[in-house]
Amino acid sequence: MKTQLIELNINDQIYEIPITPVDLLVDVLRKKVGFTGTKKGCGQGDCGACTVLIDGKTALACITLAIACQGKKITTIEGVANKDGSLHPIQQSFVEHGAVQCGFCSPGMILSSKALLDSNPSPSELEVKRALSGNMCRCTGYILILEAVHAAAEKMAQAGVK
């Protein structure tokens, strides 16, 4: 299998990564770059654990070819916190509301929430539910997750966070 070097922009940093055309983004992130925050759940694009942002929009890294992400801006959960290391308001809200149980779905939940709040800072209850409808929580902690997203939206609106 022919290996080639590609450049990927992950969390605003350029990585030169040896890949083959068949490598999936989730595997490249986890095994070649070391961003293990992106989880591999069903591997079929159903569960949302592998959700990342590509050019600001949610995408499923388990059914995305890494080679197809050249020239795009990839955001993983590792790129969500503030530059000083403090948590992003959405992350902080998940912690405060007990929205993290086993934690496996949390990176995907937080990235889906971020994509929503970036484009719609004050979503309705239905809009939040729709935005998270592609993310499964096996602990079934949905209520607290929804509460955390609404609280984060309010906090971000007050603080003028983008």
Binding site: M1, D23, D27, I63, I67, A68, S112
Partner: protein, 294 residues
């Protein structure tokens, strides 16, 4: 880590490059657009391929043009989410917008494309039913030129369509909705999100100038036949008449008589037949009321 079979990857940037590659590689290549069906099929080893041509970077295959009085042209690589959120499309073609918004979840909709949904040719696909009700034409391109095929003739059966070697679906052309008309879509699935329709249905209903008599109607059922099923009996029953409760009941019965559902993991044939009647009643009433207001 190497779950997929080994393939060569091509990412053309222009229409002519894409068509050139499609011609050169023919049946030895699969076209990648959003990947929400193709990559899963490759991972599941349902298919293998020697080459992948990723056409998602070709700008000429993307975009929505929907101006007043001019119908719409939608590039095949337009994302489902862009169709869902297009205000212009929602105004003219609510059936298509609604269907687009009910596909998978947000991640799937921001990856998947309109062309992919038709080219995958799943009997349970969401968008072919409204596209057919709206009279959409599929534009198929190759090195030797373009050809146009109505969507219902494009899909031949379960994962079968008329695409020949070297051909790529490049756009969909939708006619301007008729005056005094309304189009609607409805479906039943096991859940609201991340499901595949057990039955879906789209209707496009046109009234005469009196605002009450049905002038034309196209009702298309999905997931009850190997391809989108266009009712022949509904127009025969309803054209020239004013809708009433009795006609709605008769329409539900004739739609049921035409559907040929199967029992599978999502629903039994018996349940699907019941749903066909329910959706027929619901959509006829909704579309008729909306067309009267139009």
């Amino acid at each position: 880590m190497y779950i997929l079979n080994n393939f060569e990857y091509f990412a053309p940037e222009t229409r002519s490059e894409a068509l050139e590659l499609a011609k050169k590689l023919g049946s030895k290549a699969k076209i990648l657009a959003g990947g929400t069906d193709l990559i899963i099929q490759l991972k599941e080893k349902m298919i293998t391929t020697e080459n992948i041509i990723n056409i998602s970077g070709v700008d000429e295959f993307k975009g929505i043009s929907c101006e007043p009085g001019k119908g719409a042209v939608i590039g095949a690589c337009t994302k489902i989410a862009d169709i869902e959120y297009s205000e212009a499309l929602r105004k003219k073609y609510p059936a298509l917008s609604f269907a687009a918004g009910e596909i998978g979840g947000p991640q799937v909709r921001s990856m998947a494309t309109l062309g992919g949904n038709s080219c995958h040719s799943s009997p349970a696909a969401e968008t072919p039913s409204p596209l057919s009700a709206l009279g959409a034409i599929v534009v198929i391109s190759s090195k030797s030129g373009d050809r146009e095929v109505p969507i219902e003739e494009f899909i031949l059966g379960n994962r079968k369509n008329v695409l020949a070697e070297g051909e790529i679906v490049t756009k969909f052309v939708l006619p301007e909705p008729a005056p005094k008309s309304a189009n609607r879509y409805a479906y039943i699935g096991l859940r609201n999100a991340m499901e595949i329709d057990a039955v879906n249905m789209a209707v496009n209903l046109v009234l005469e100038n009196d605002g009450e008599t049905i002038k034309a109607i196209k009702l298309v059922m999905g997931s009850v036949f190997p391809r989108p099923l266009i009712s022949e009996k509904i127009p025969a029953l309803l054209i020239g008449k004013k809708l009433n409760d009795e006609l709605v009941e008769q329409a539900a019965e004739v739609a049921q008589s035409e559907a040929k559902p199967i029992t599978d993991v999502r629903a039994s044939a018996e349940y699907r037949r019941d749903v066909v009647a329910t959706l027929t009643r619901r959509l006829l009433k909704e579309a008729y009321a909306a067309a009267k207001e139009a």
